[in-house]
Protein backbone atom coordinates (compact mmCIF):
# COMPACT_ATOMS: atom_id res chain seq x y z
CA UNK A 1 0.00 0.00 0.00
CA UNK A 2 2.72 2.36 1.05
CA UNK A 3 4.60 1.51 -2.10
CA UNK A 4 1.74 2.25 -4.38
CA UNK A 5 1.08 5.58 -2.72
CA UNK A 6 4.75 6.41 -3.08
CA UNK A 7 4.71 5.69 -6.76
CA UNK A 8 1.66 7.84 -7.21
CA UNK A 9 3.20 10.63 -5.19
CA UNK A 10 6.38 10.42 -7.21
CA UNK A 11 4.59 10.49 -10.45
CA UNK A 12 2.55 13.40 -9.27
CA UNK A 13 5.53 15.43 -8.24
CA UNK A 14 7.28 14.68 -11.51
CA UNK A 15 4.50 15.96 -13.71
CA UNK A 16 3.53 18.03 -10.71
CA UNK A 17 2.72 21.61 -11.18
CA UNK A 18 3.11 21.34 -14.89
CA UNK A 19 0.34 18.79 -15.26
CA UNK A 20 -2.03 20.76 -13.11
CA UNK A 21 -1.36 23.87 -15.14
CA UNK A 22 -1.89 21.94 -18.28
CA UNK A 23 -5.20 20.62 -17.08
CA UNK A 24 -6.26 24.06 -15.92
CA UNK A 25 -5.27 25.50 -19.26
CA UNK A 26 -7.26 22.84 -21.04
CA UNK A 27 -10.24 23.54 -18.85
CA UNK A 28 -10.09 27.27 -19.39
CA UNK A 29 -8.99 27.49 -22.98
CA UNK A 30 -10.09 24.15 -24.30
CA UNK A 31 -8.65 21.98 -26.99
CA UNK A 32 -10.53 23.98 -29.59
CA UNK A 33 -11.65 27.54 -29.69
CA UNK A 34 -15.16 26.68 -28.62
CA UNK A 35 -14.47 24.28 -25.77
CA UNK A 36 -12.77 26.37 -23.08
CA UNK A 37 -14.53 27.76 -20.05
CA UNK A 38 -13.21 31.29 -20.51
CA UNK A 39 -14.28 31.29 -24.08
CA UNK A 40 -17.73 30.03 -23.15
CA UNK A 41 -18.15 32.71 -20.58
CA UNK A 42 -16.88 35.29 -23.00
CA UNK A 43 -19.36 34.16 -25.63
CA UNK A 44 -22.26 34.31 -23.20
CA UNK A 45 -21.35 37.79 -22.06
CA UNK A 46 -20.92 38.97 -25.62
CA UNK A 47 -24.13 37.37 -26.84
CA UNK A 48 -26.24 38.61 -23.96
CA UNK A 49 -24.79 42.06 -24.35
CA UNK A 50 -25.46 42.22 -28.09
CA UNK A 51 -28.85 40.61 -27.70
CA UNK A 52 -29.78 43.32 -25.22
CA UNK A 53 -28.57 46.04 -27.56
CA UNK A 54 -30.45 44.37 -30.35
CA UNK A 55 -33.72 44.06 -28.50
CA UNK A 56 -33.55 47.43 -26.85
CA UNK A 57 -35.66 49.24 -29.48
CA UNK A 58 -38.26 46.48 -29.31
CA UNK A 59 -38.45 46.70 -25.51
CA UNK A 60 -38.75 50.43 -25.87
CA UNK A 61 -41.61 49.98 -28.29
CA UNK A 62 -43.45 47.58 -26.01
CA UNK A 63 -43.08 49.70 -22.91
CA UNK A 64 -43.78 53.09 -24.48
CA UNK A 65 -47.00 52.07 -26.13
CA UNK A 66 -48.68 51.12 -22.87
CA UNK A 67 -47.62 54.15 -20.86
CA UNK A 68 -50.42 56.47 -19.91
CA UNK A 69 -50.05 60.15 -19.10
CA UNK A 70 -48.96 59.74 -15.44
CA UNK A 71 -46.31 57.21 -16.39
CA UNK A 72 -44.98 59.35 -19.22
CA UNK A 73 -44.60 62.34 -16.94
CA UNK A 74 -43.16 60.38 -14.02
CA UNK A 75 -39.34 60.43 -14.29
CA UNK A 76 -39.00 57.40 -12.02
CA UNK A 77 -40.79 55.22 -14.52
CA UNK A 78 -38.25 54.05 -17.01
CA UNK A 79 -39.07 50.67 -18.49
CA UNK A 80 -42.03 49.24 -16.66
CA UNK A 81 -45.13 51.43 -16.48
CA UNK A 82 -47.07 51.45 -13.21
CA UNK A 83 -50.38 50.98 -14.91
CA UNK A 84 -50.94 49.58 -18.35
CA UNK A 85 -52.82 52.01 -20.53
CA UNK A 86 -54.48 50.70 -23.67
CA UNK A 87 -55.62 54.03 -25.07
CA UNK A 88 -52.67 54.47 -27.43
CA UNK A 89 -53.25 51.10 -28.98
CA UNK A 90 -56.91 51.92 -29.45
CA UNK A 91 -56.06 55.20 -31.12
CA UNK A 92 -53.48 53.55 -33.36
CA UNK A 93 -56.05 50.92 -34.25
CA UNK A 94 -58.50 53.50 -35.56
CA UNK A 95 -55.92 55.74 -37.24
CA UNK A 96 -54.49 52.78 -39.14
CA UNK A 97 -58.00 51.65 -40.05
CA UNK A 98 -56.72 48.36 -38.78
CA UNK A 99 -59.37 45.79 -39.75
CA UNK A 100 -59.38 46.92 -43.38
CA UNK A 101 -55.69 47.50 -43.87
CA UNK A 102 -54.86 44.32 -42.01
CA UNK A 103 -57.04 42.26 -44.34
CA UNK A 104 -55.54 43.87 -47.41
CA UNK A 105 -52.01 43.31 -46.17
CA UNK A 106 -52.78 39.74 -45.24
CA UNK A 107 -54.41 38.94 -48.57
CA UNK A 108 -51.64 40.61 -50.56
CA UNK A 109 -48.72 39.10 -48.71
CA UNK A 110 -50.19 35.62 -48.43
CA UNK A 111 -51.13 35.66 -52.11
CA UNK A 112 -47.79 37.01 -53.24
CA UNK A 113 -45.76 34.68 -51.06
CA UNK A 114 -47.70 31.57 -52.10
CA UNK A 115 -47.24 32.42 -55.76
CA UNK A 116 -43.57 33.22 -55.31
CA UNK A 117 -43.12 30.00 -53.41
CA UNK A 118 -44.24 27.94 -56.41
CA UNK A 119 -43.17 30.09 -59.36
CA UNK A 120 -39.69 30.71 -58.01
CA UNK A 121 -39.32 27.01 -57.24
CA UNK A 122 -40.08 26.17 -60.87
CA UNK A 123 -37.48 28.62 -62.12
CA UNK A 124 -34.97 27.58 -59.48
CA UNK A 125 -35.39 23.92 -60.35
CA UNK A 126 -34.97 24.62 -64.06
CA UNK A 127 -31.82 26.62 -63.37
CA UNK A 128 -30.43 23.90 -61.16
CA UNK A 129 -31.26 20.69 -62.97
CA UNK A 130 -32.75 21.14 -66.42
CA UNK A 131 -31.46 22.17 -69.79
CA UNK A 132 -32.81 24.94 -71.92
CA UNK A 133 -31.31 27.16 -74.61
CA UNK A 134 -29.04 30.02 -73.50
CA UNK A 135 -29.05 28.81 -69.92
CA UNK A 136 -25.87 30.72 -69.04
CA UNK A 137 -27.34 33.91 -70.45
CA UNK A 138 -30.53 33.56 -68.43
CA UNK A 139 -28.55 32.82 -65.32
CA UNK A 140 -26.67 36.07 -65.82
CA UNK A 141 -30.06 37.77 -66.21
CA UNK A 142 -31.17 36.22 -62.94
CA UNK A 143 -28.19 37.61 -61.07
CA UNK A 144 -28.67 40.93 -62.79
CA UNK A 145 -32.30 40.97 -61.67
CA UNK A 146 -31.13 40.45 -58.13
CA UNK A 147 -28.92 43.53 -58.11
CA UNK A 148 -31.24 45.96 -59.90
CA UNK A 149 -32.83 48.23 -57.31
CA UNK A 150 -36.61 48.43 -57.76
CA UNK A 151 -36.28 52.19 -58.21
CA UNK A 152 -34.71 51.69 -61.64
CA UNK A 153 -37.72 49.98 -63.10
CA UNK A 154 -40.53 51.58 -61.14
CA UNK A 155 -41.26 54.55 -63.43
CA UNK A 156 -41.61 52.53 -66.64
CA UNK A 157 -43.72 50.05 -64.71
CA UNK A 158 -46.04 52.81 -63.58
CA UNK A 159 -46.47 53.90 -67.21
CA UNK A 160 -46.93 50.30 -68.28
CA UNK A 161 -49.53 49.53 -65.63
CA UNK A 162 -51.32 52.75 -66.44
CA UNK A 163 -51.62 51.65 -70.07
CA UNK A 164 -53.28 48.40 -69.08
CA UNK A 165 -55.34 49.98 -66.33
CA UNK A 166 -53.72 48.32 -63.35
CA UNK A 167 -52.85 51.48 -61.48
CA UNK A 168 -54.90 51.77 -58.28
CA UNK A 169 -55.50 48.04 -58.23
CA UNK A 170 -53.59 45.38 -56.34
CA UNK A 171 -52.54 43.62 -59.53
CA UNK A 172 -49.04 45.20 -59.77
CA UNK A 173 -48.13 43.50 -56.50
CA UNK A 174 -49.53 40.13 -57.54
CA UNK A 175 -49.02 39.56 -61.28
CA UNK A 176 -45.19 39.68 -61.31
CA UNK A 177 -45.06 37.06 -58.55
CA UNK A 178 -47.03 34.74 -60.82
CA UNK A 179 -43.98 34.69 -63.07
CA UNK A 180 -41.46 34.21 -60.30
CA UNK A 181 -40.60 37.86 -60.02
CA UNK A 182 -42.07 40.46 -57.71
CA UNK A 183 -40.44 41.68 -54.54
CA UNK A 184 -36.98 40.07 -54.26
CA UNK A 185 -38.14 37.24 -56.52
CA UNK A 186 -34.64 36.75 -57.90
CA UNK A 187 -33.33 35.99 -54.43
CA UNK A 188 -35.86 33.20 -53.97
CA UNK A 189 -34.98 31.69 -57.34
CA UNK A 190 -31.34 31.72 -56.27
CA UNK A 191 -32.22 30.06 -52.95
CA UNK A 192 -34.18 27.30 -54.70
CA UNK A 193 -31.50 26.86 -57.32
CA UNK A 194 -28.95 26.36 -54.59
CA UNK A 195 -31.17 23.87 -52.79
CA UNK A 196 -31.99 21.79 -55.87
CA UNK A 197 -28.47 21.77 -57.27
CA UNK A 198 -27.08 19.85 -54.30
CA UNK A 199 -29.70 17.10 -54.53
CA UNK A 200 -28.41 13.85 -56.02
CA UNK A 201 -29.16 13.21 -59.66
CA UNK A 202 -30.35 9.66 -59.03
CA UNK A 203 -33.50 10.94 -57.40
CA UNK A 204 -35.05 12.40 -60.52
CA UNK A 205 -33.55 9.73 -62.73
CA UNK A 206 -35.39 7.07 -60.78
CA UNK A 207 -38.63 8.94 -61.18
CA UNK A 208 -38.01 9.47 -64.87
CA UNK A 209 -37.20 5.80 -65.31
CA UNK A 210 -40.67 5.05 -64.01
CA UNK A 211 -42.01 7.14 -66.84
CA UNK A 212 -42.88 10.29 -64.96
CA UNK A 213 -42.99 13.47 -66.99
CA UNK A 214 -40.88 16.41 -66.04
CA UNK A 215 -43.90 18.15 -64.56
CA UNK A 216 -44.72 15.14 -62.44
CA UNK A 217 -41.12 14.85 -61.32
CA UNK A 218 -41.17 18.46 -60.27
CA UNK A 219 -44.50 18.59 -58.49
CA UNK A 220 -44.57 15.09 -57.03
CA UNK A 221 -40.91 14.48 -56.21
CA UNK A 222 -38.87 17.65 -56.09
CA UNK A 223 -41.29 20.12 -54.54
CA UNK A 224 -42.14 17.88 -51.57
CA UNK A 225 -38.44 17.41 -50.78
CA UNK A 226 -37.87 21.12 -50.96
CA UNK A 227 -39.65 21.75 -47.65
CA UNK A 228 -36.71 23.49 -45.95
CA UNK A 229 -36.32 25.84 -48.88
CA UNK A 230 -40.06 26.41 -49.01
CA UNK A 231 -40.21 27.43 -45.38
CA UNK A 232 -37.35 29.88 -45.85
CA UNK A 233 -38.77 31.37 -49.02
CA UNK A 234 -42.30 31.59 -47.65
CA UNK A 235 -41.27 33.34 -44.48
CA UNK A 236 -38.96 35.79 -46.21
CA UNK A 237 -41.50 36.47 -48.89
CA UNK A 238 -44.37 36.93 -46.46
CA UNK A 239 -42.45 39.24 -44.18
CA UNK A 240 -40.95 41.34 -46.95
CA UNK A 241 -44.21 41.63 -48.82
CA UNK A 242 -45.95 42.56 -45.60
CA UNK A 243 -43.45 45.27 -44.78
CA UNK A 244 -43.09 46.60 -48.28
CA UNK A 245 -44.53 50.04 -48.59
CA UNK A 246 -42.58 51.07 -51.66
CA UNK A 247 -44.44 49.43 -54.51
CA UNK A 248 -47.91 49.95 -52.99
CA UNK A 249 -47.07 53.63 -52.58
CA UNK A 250 -45.95 53.82 -56.19
CA UNK A 251 -48.86 51.97 -57.74
CA UNK A 252 -51.79 52.96 -55.52
CA UNK A 253 -52.46 56.63 -56.09
CA UNK A 254 -56.04 57.31 -55.21
CA UNK A 255 -57.05 54.16 -53.46
CA UNK A 256 -58.63 54.60 -50.03
CA UNK A 257 -58.02 51.11 -48.74
CA UNK A 258 -54.27 50.62 -48.52
CA UNK A 259 -52.09 47.91 -47.01
CA UNK A 260 -50.91 48.34 -43.45
CA UNK A 261 -47.41 49.41 -44.42
CA UNK A 262 -48.77 52.34 -46.42
CA UNK A 263 -51.33 53.17 -43.76
CA UNK A 264 -48.46 53.43 -41.29
CA UNK A 265 -46.67 56.02 -43.41
CA UNK A 266 -49.82 58.01 -44.12
CA UNK A 267 -51.00 57.97 -40.51
CA UNK A 268 -47.71 59.48 -39.37
CA UNK A 269 -48.08 62.38 -41.72
CA UNK A 270 -51.48 63.11 -40.23
CA UNK A 271 -50.46 62.70 -36.61
CA UNK A 272 -47.60 65.20 -36.55
CA UNK A 273 -49.90 68.17 -36.98
CA UNK A 274 -52.48 67.46 -34.32
CA UNK A 275 -52.10 65.97 -30.89
CA UNK A 276 -49.84 66.77 -27.98
CA UNK A 277 -46.17 65.95 -28.27
CA UNK A 278 -46.27 63.83 -25.14
CA UNK A 279 -48.45 61.16 -26.69
CA UNK A 280 -46.85 61.26 -30.12
CA UNK A 281 -44.15 58.74 -29.30
CA UNK A 282 -46.49 56.34 -27.57
CA UNK A 283 -48.93 56.37 -30.43
CA UNK A 284 -46.14 55.96 -32.95
CA UNK A 285 -44.90 52.93 -31.08
CA UNK A 286 -48.39 51.50 -30.80
CA UNK A 287 -48.81 51.83 -34.55
CA UNK A 288 -45.45 50.24 -35.19
CA UNK A 289 -46.36 47.40 -32.91
CA UNK A 290 -49.67 46.81 -34.64
CA UNK A 291 -48.03 46.74 -38.02
CA UNK A 292 -45.23 44.30 -37.20
CA UNK A 293 -47.24 42.09 -34.89
CA UNK A 294 -48.60 39.69 -37.53
CA UNK A 295 -45.22 38.77 -39.06
CA UNK A 296 -43.80 38.65 -35.54
CA UNK A 297 -46.40 36.11 -34.48
CA UNK A 298 -45.76 34.10 -37.63
CA UNK A 299 -42.04 34.21 -36.95
CA UNK A 300 -42.44 33.05 -33.36
CA UNK A 301 -44.32 29.99 -34.56
CA UNK A 302 -42.15 29.13 -37.55
CA UNK A 303 -38.76 30.24 -36.23
CA UNK A 304 -37.62 26.73 -35.47
CA UNK A 305 -38.26 25.33 -38.95
CA UNK A 306 -36.95 28.50 -40.42
CA UNK A 307 -33.54 28.29 -38.79
CA UNK A 308 -33.31 24.60 -39.57
CA UNK A 309 -34.38 25.27 -43.12
CA UNK A 310 -31.71 27.85 -43.64
CA UNK A 311 -29.05 25.45 -42.51
CA UNK A 312 -30.34 22.67 -44.68
CA UNK A 313 -30.88 24.69 -47.80
CA UNK A 314 -27.23 25.56 -47.89
CA UNK A 315 -28.67 28.91 -48.90
CA UNK A 316 -25.39 29.75 -50.52
CA UNK A 317 -23.26 29.89 -53.58
Amino acid sequence: MEKILNVIRQRHSRSGFNGLGERLRLLLLGREADKGLIFRLFIYVLLIETAYLYLNPIFYMMSTMVKGLPDLLDPTVNWIPKTIYWGHLKEAWTSLNYPVSFSISAALSIGASLLQLIACAMAGYAFAKLNFPFKKFWLACLIFTFIIPPQVTVLPLILMYREVGWVDTYLPMIIPTLFGHGLKGALYVIIYRQFFSVLPKELEEAAKMDGASMYRVFFKVMLPIAKPAIVVVFLFSFVWNWNDSYSPMMFLFKLQDVPLSVALVKATAAATTEDGQIFAQSIEMAKSFLSVMPPLVLYIFTQRWFVEGVERTGLVE
Binding site: E32, F132, P133, T153, P156, G180, W242, L264
Partner: protein, 288 residues
Protein backbone atom coordinates in the same frame (compact mmCIF):
# COMPACT_ATOMS: atom_id res chain seq x y z
CA UNK B 1 -37.46 4.52 -85.62
CA UNK B 2 -34.55 4.31 -83.23
CA UNK B 3 -33.03 7.46 -84.69
CA UNK B 4 -36.34 9.17 -84.13
CA UNK B 5 -36.32 8.14 -80.51
CA UNK B 6 -32.75 9.34 -80.18
CA UNK B 7 -33.69 12.64 -81.73
CA UNK B 8 -36.64 12.93 -79.45
CA UNK B 9 -34.42 12.16 -76.51
CA UNK B 10 -31.84 14.78 -77.40
CA UNK B 11 -34.67 17.20 -77.93
CA UNK B 12 -36.12 16.56 -74.50
CA UNK B 13 -32.62 16.58 -73.04
CA UNK B 14 -31.95 19.96 -74.50
CA UNK B 15 -35.28 21.62 -74.08
CA UNK B 16 -37.05 19.87 -71.25
CA UNK B 17 -36.42 22.82 -68.97
CA UNK B 18 -38.15 25.25 -71.25
CA UNK B 19 -41.63 24.66 -69.88
CA UNK B 20 -40.59 25.31 -66.31
CA UNK B 21 -38.41 28.29 -67.07
CA UNK B 22 -40.69 29.91 -69.63
CA UNK B 23 -42.86 31.78 -67.13
CA UNK B 24 -39.78 33.22 -65.51
CA UNK B 25 -38.34 34.30 -68.85
CA UNK B 26 -41.62 35.94 -69.87
CA UNK B 27 -41.70 37.69 -66.52
CA UNK B 28 -38.12 38.78 -66.96
CA UNK B 29 -38.85 40.31 -70.35
CA UNK B 30 -42.03 42.01 -69.14
CA UNK B 31 -41.11 43.20 -65.68
CA UNK B 32 -37.33 43.57 -65.79
CA UNK B 33 -35.73 43.98 -69.16
CA UNK B 34 -38.42 46.07 -70.83
CA UNK B 35 -38.71 48.56 -67.94
CA UNK B 36 -34.94 48.65 -67.69
CA UNK B 37 -34.40 49.66 -71.30
CA UNK B 38 -37.39 51.94 -71.26
CA UNK B 39 -36.02 53.72 -68.23
CA UNK B 40 -32.68 54.14 -69.99
CA UNK B 41 -34.56 55.49 -73.00
CA UNK B 42 -36.56 57.89 -70.85
CA UNK B 43 -33.42 59.26 -69.26
CA UNK B 44 -32.49 60.76 -72.64
CA UNK B 45 -35.97 62.02 -73.40
CA UNK B 46 -38.42 64.51 -72.11
CA UNK B 47 -41.56 62.53 -71.37
CA UNK B 48 -44.99 64.04 -71.36
CA UNK B 49 -48.22 62.24 -70.79
CA UNK B 50 -51.02 63.64 -72.90
CA UNK B 51 -54.51 62.55 -73.74
CA UNK B 52 -53.31 60.89 -76.92
CA UNK B 53 -50.59 58.90 -75.27
CA UNK B 54 -47.03 59.39 -74.15
CA UNK B 55 -44.85 61.88 -76.00
CA UNK B 56 -41.08 61.51 -76.07
CA UNK B 57 -38.75 64.28 -77.10
CA UNK B 58 -35.05 63.62 -77.42
CA UNK B 59 -32.93 65.80 -75.15
CA UNK B 60 -29.60 63.98 -75.24
CA UNK B 61 -27.34 64.13 -72.18
CA UNK B 62 -29.15 67.14 -70.75
CA UNK B 63 -30.51 65.47 -67.62
CA UNK B 64 -27.24 63.76 -66.86
CA UNK B 65 -25.24 66.97 -67.14
CA UNK B 66 -27.89 68.66 -65.04
CA UNK B 67 -27.47 66.13 -62.27
CA UNK B 68 -23.70 65.97 -62.38
CA UNK B 69 -22.60 69.49 -63.28
CA UNK B 70 -25.30 72.10 -62.98
CA UNK B 71 -27.97 71.56 -60.42
CA UNK B 72 -26.39 68.75 -58.49
CA UNK B 73 -28.59 69.30 -55.44
CA UNK B 74 -29.70 65.73 -54.96
CA UNK B 75 -26.47 64.21 -56.16
CA UNK B 76 -23.90 66.14 -54.14
CA UNK B 77 -25.91 67.12 -51.11
CA UNK B 78 -27.82 63.93 -50.51
CA UNK B 79 -26.45 61.04 -52.47
CA UNK B 80 -22.75 61.47 -51.74
CA UNK B 81 -23.15 61.79 -47.95
CA UNK B 82 -25.40 58.77 -48.07
CA UNK B 83 -22.73 56.86 -50.00
CA UNK B 84 -20.08 57.80 -47.44
CA UNK B 85 -22.41 56.53 -44.76
CA UNK B 86 -22.87 53.26 -46.61
CA UNK B 87 -19.12 52.91 -46.97
CA UNK B 88 -18.94 52.59 -43.18
CA UNK B 89 -22.06 50.52 -42.82
CA UNK B 90 -21.00 47.71 -45.16
CA UNK B 91 -17.92 46.56 -43.21
CA UNK B 92 -19.74 47.03 -39.90
CA UNK B 93 -22.60 44.81 -41.00
CA UNK B 94 -20.43 42.15 -42.62
CA UNK B 95 -17.96 41.88 -39.75
CA UNK B 96 -20.66 41.96 -37.11
CA UNK B 97 -22.73 39.27 -38.78
CA UNK B 98 -19.62 37.16 -39.26
CA UNK B 99 -18.79 37.34 -35.57
CA UNK B 100 -22.34 36.59 -34.48
CA UNK B 101 -22.57 33.66 -36.90
CA UNK B 102 -19.32 32.16 -35.61
CA UNK B 103 -20.59 32.50 -32.06
CA UNK B 104 -24.01 31.10 -32.83
CA UNK B 105 -22.40 28.15 -34.53
CA UNK B 106 -20.94 26.93 -31.23
CA UNK B 107 -22.89 24.38 -29.32
CA UNK B 108 -24.03 25.90 -26.07
CA UNK B 109 -27.05 26.04 -23.86
CA UNK B 110 -29.74 28.42 -25.11
CA UNK B 111 -28.43 28.54 -28.64
CA UNK B 112 -31.89 28.32 -30.18
CA UNK B 113 -33.05 31.29 -28.15
CA UNK B 114 -30.12 33.40 -29.23
CA UNK B 115 -30.62 32.44 -32.84
CA UNK B 116 -34.24 33.48 -32.67
CA UNK B 117 -33.17 36.82 -31.21
CA UNK B 118 -30.58 37.53 -33.86
CA UNK B 119 -32.88 36.73 -36.76
CA UNK B 120 -35.69 38.82 -35.32
CA UNK B 121 -34.54 42.02 -37.06
CA UNK B 122 -35.24 40.36 -40.40
CA UNK B 123 -38.86 41.13 -39.61
CA UNK B 124 -38.33 44.70 -38.49
CA UNK B 125 -35.57 45.96 -40.69
CA UNK B 126 -37.40 45.66 -43.97
CA UNK B 127 -40.23 47.97 -43.09
CA UNK B 128 -41.07 51.46 -42.03
CA UNK B 129 -40.93 50.58 -38.39
CA UNK B 130 -37.20 51.12 -38.44
CA UNK B 131 -37.80 54.70 -39.52
CA UNK B 132 -39.88 55.22 -36.41
CA UNK B 133 -37.10 53.90 -34.22
CA UNK B 134 -34.59 56.11 -36.00
CA UNK B 135 -36.70 59.21 -35.59
CA UNK B 136 -36.95 58.55 -31.86
CA UNK B 137 -33.22 58.11 -31.52
CA UNK B 138 -33.53 54.49 -30.51
CA UNK B 139 -30.53 53.32 -32.46
CA UNK B 140 -27.92 55.02 -30.34
CA UNK B 141 -25.31 53.39 -28.23
CA UNK B 142 -25.47 54.91 -24.78
CA UNK B 143 -21.75 55.11 -24.15
CA UNK B 144 -21.08 57.13 -27.28
CA UNK B 145 -23.15 59.97 -25.94
CA UNK B 146 -21.48 59.74 -22.55
CA UNK B 147 -18.07 60.42 -23.99
CA UNK B 148 -19.44 62.89 -26.55
CA UNK B 149 -17.64 61.12 -29.35
CA UNK B 150 -19.77 62.86 -31.95
CA UNK B 151 -18.54 66.32 -31.04
CA UNK B 152 -14.94 65.13 -30.89
CA UNK B 153 -15.27 63.64 -34.33
CA UNK B 154 -16.73 66.75 -35.86
CA UNK B 155 -13.89 68.79 -34.38
CA UNK B 156 -11.13 66.73 -35.92
CA UNK B 157 -12.59 65.58 -39.19
CA UNK B 158 -13.73 67.61 -42.18
CA UNK B 159 -17.45 68.13 -42.15
CA UNK B 160 -18.09 65.97 -45.21
CA UNK B 161 -16.74 62.93 -43.37
CA UNK B 162 -17.74 63.61 -39.79
CA UNK B 163 -21.43 63.99 -40.64
CA UNK B 164 -21.81 60.50 -42.13
CA UNK B 165 -19.73 58.92 -39.36
CA UNK B 166 -21.84 60.59 -36.71
CA UNK B 167 -24.96 59.48 -38.56
CA UNK B 168 -23.66 55.93 -38.56
CA UNK B 169 -22.84 56.08 -34.85
CA UNK B 170 -26.22 57.54 -34.03
CA UNK B 171 -28.04 54.66 -35.63
CA UNK B 172 -25.51 52.00 -34.79
CA UNK B 173 -27.88 49.48 -33.25
CA UNK B 174 -30.25 49.72 -36.18
CA UNK B 175 -27.35 49.19 -38.56
CA UNK B 176 -26.67 45.99 -36.70
CA UNK B 177 -30.29 45.17 -37.36
CA UNK B 178 -29.55 45.01 -41.04
CA UNK B 179 -27.45 41.91 -40.50
CA UNK B 180 -30.26 39.39 -39.94
CA UNK B 181 -30.07 37.78 -43.36
CA UNK B 182 -26.30 38.01 -43.39
CA UNK B 183 -26.04 36.08 -40.14
CA UNK B 184 -28.21 33.38 -41.71
CA UNK B 185 -26.01 33.23 -44.78
CA UNK B 186 -22.84 32.99 -42.72
CA UNK B 187 -24.35 30.28 -40.53
CA UNK B 188 -25.34 28.27 -43.56
CA UNK B 189 -21.87 28.85 -44.97
CA UNK B 190 -20.20 27.69 -41.79
CA UNK B 191 -22.08 24.39 -42.11
CA UNK B 192 -20.28 23.70 -45.37
CA UNK B 193 -16.89 23.36 -43.65
CA UNK B 194 -16.63 19.76 -42.59
CA UNK B 195 -15.61 19.01 -39.02
CA UNK B 196 -12.90 16.64 -40.22
CA UNK B 197 -10.86 19.63 -41.35
CA UNK B 198 -10.93 20.96 -37.81
CA UNK B 199 -10.06 17.58 -36.38
CA UNK B 200 -7.07 17.28 -38.67
CA UNK B 201 -5.88 20.72 -37.70
CA UNK B 202 -6.16 19.86 -34.03
CA UNK B 203 -4.14 16.69 -34.48
CA UNK B 204 -1.47 18.74 -36.20
CA UNK B 205 -1.37 20.89 -33.10
CA UNK B 206 -2.96 24.08 -34.32
CA UNK B 207 -4.31 26.38 -31.64
CA UNK B 208 -7.77 27.97 -31.84
CA UNK B 209 -6.35 31.27 -33.02
CA UNK B 210 -4.52 29.61 -35.92
CA UNK B 211 -7.54 27.47 -36.76
CA UNK B 212 -9.67 30.56 -37.13
CA UNK B 213 -7.25 32.40 -39.40
CA UNK B 214 -6.06 29.41 -41.40
CA UNK B 215 -9.26 27.42 -41.82
CA UNK B 216 -12.44 29.23 -40.86
CA UNK B 217 -11.73 32.59 -42.41
CA UNK B 218 -10.38 31.37 -45.77
CA UNK B 219 -13.21 28.89 -46.16
CA UNK B 220 -15.71 31.62 -45.39
CA UNK B 221 -14.30 34.11 -47.86
CA UNK B 222 -16.84 33.23 -50.59
CA UNK B 223 -19.58 33.96 -48.06
CA UNK B 224 -17.96 37.23 -47.11
CA UNK B 225 -18.17 38.20 -50.76
CA UNK B 226 -21.74 36.97 -51.04
CA UNK B 227 -22.75 38.88 -47.95
CA UNK B 228 -21.02 42.03 -49.10
CA UNK B 229 -22.96 41.84 -52.34
CA UNK B 230 -26.19 41.21 -50.44
CA UNK B 231 -25.50 44.06 -48.04
CA UNK B 232 -24.75 46.49 -50.87
CA UNK B 233 -27.96 45.54 -52.65
CA UNK B 234 -29.96 45.71 -49.45
CA UNK B 235 -28.59 49.04 -48.26
CA UNK B 236 -29.05 50.74 -51.59
CA UNK B 237 -32.75 50.02 -51.50
CA UNK B 238 -33.43 50.61 -47.85
CA UNK B 239 -36.17 52.95 -46.69
CA UNK B 240 -34.97 56.45 -45.91
CA UNK B 241 -32.49 56.55 -48.70
CA UNK B 242 -32.53 59.94 -50.46
CA UNK B 243 -32.89 58.51 -53.93
CA UNK B 244 -36.01 56.58 -53.05
CA UNK B 245 -37.50 59.80 -51.78
CA UNK B 246 -36.69 61.64 -54.98
CA UNK B 247 -38.35 59.15 -57.30
CA UNK B 248 -41.62 60.79 -58.14
CA UNK B 249 -43.90 59.92 -60.99
CA UNK B 250 -44.18 63.41 -62.37
CA UNK B 251 -40.77 63.98 -63.89
CA UNK B 252 -40.05 60.83 -65.79
CA UNK B 253 -36.99 61.96 -67.73
CA UNK B 254 -34.85 63.62 -65.03
CA UNK B 255 -35.72 61.03 -62.43
CA UNK B 256 -34.76 58.20 -64.77
CA UNK B 257 -31.40 59.86 -65.38
CA UNK B 258 -30.85 60.21 -61.64
CA UNK B 259 -31.75 56.59 -61.07
CA UNK B 260 -29.32 55.49 -63.73
CA UNK B 261 -26.51 57.47 -62.15
CA UNK B 262 -27.45 55.77 -58.90
CA UNK B 263 -27.55 52.35 -60.50
CA UNK B 264 -24.11 52.86 -62.03
CA UNK B 265 -22.81 53.75 -58.59
CA UNK B 266 -24.26 50.52 -57.22
CA UNK B 267 -22.61 48.54 -60.00
CA UNK B 268 -19.35 50.34 -59.30
CA UNK B 269 -19.59 49.49 -55.61
CA UNK B 270 -20.30 45.85 -56.41
CA UNK B 271 -17.39 45.81 -58.85
CA UNK B 272 -15.15 47.21 -56.14
CA UNK B 273 -16.32 44.54 -53.71
CA UNK B 274 -15.54 41.84 -56.24
CA UNK B 275 -12.13 43.34 -56.91
CA UNK B 276 -11.26 43.51 -53.23
CA UNK B 277 -12.79 40.26 -52.07
CA UNK B 278 -13.05 38.22 -55.23
CA UNK B 279 -9.43 37.17 -55.32
CA UNK B 280 -9.44 36.20 -51.68
CA UNK B 281 -12.62 34.20 -52.26
CA UNK B 282 -11.21 32.45 -55.29
CA UNK B 283 -7.77 31.92 -53.80
CA UNK B 284 -8.98 29.59 -51.09
CA UNK B 285 -7.50 26.16 -51.43
CA UNK B 286 -10.51 24.75 -49.69
CA UNK B 287 -13.08 23.35 -52.09
CA UNK B 288 -16.59 22.44 -51.22
Amino acid sequence: MSSWIRMRNTFTQRYEGIMLILPWIIGFLLFVSFPLFYSLYMSFHSVRITGNGILHEFVGWKYYSNILFQDGGVFYDQLLPFLRQILFMIPIIVIFSFMIAIMLNQKFFGRGLFRAVFFLPVIFSSGNVIQRFLSQGKGQLGFLEQYSISTTLSEYLPNSWSTPIVAVLNSFVLILWYSGVQILLFLAGRQTISSSVYEAARIDGANPWEVFWKITLPAMMPFVLLNTVYTVVDLFTFPGNPIIASVNPTQYGPTSALIWVYFLIILLTLGLAFLLLGRAARGTTYKR
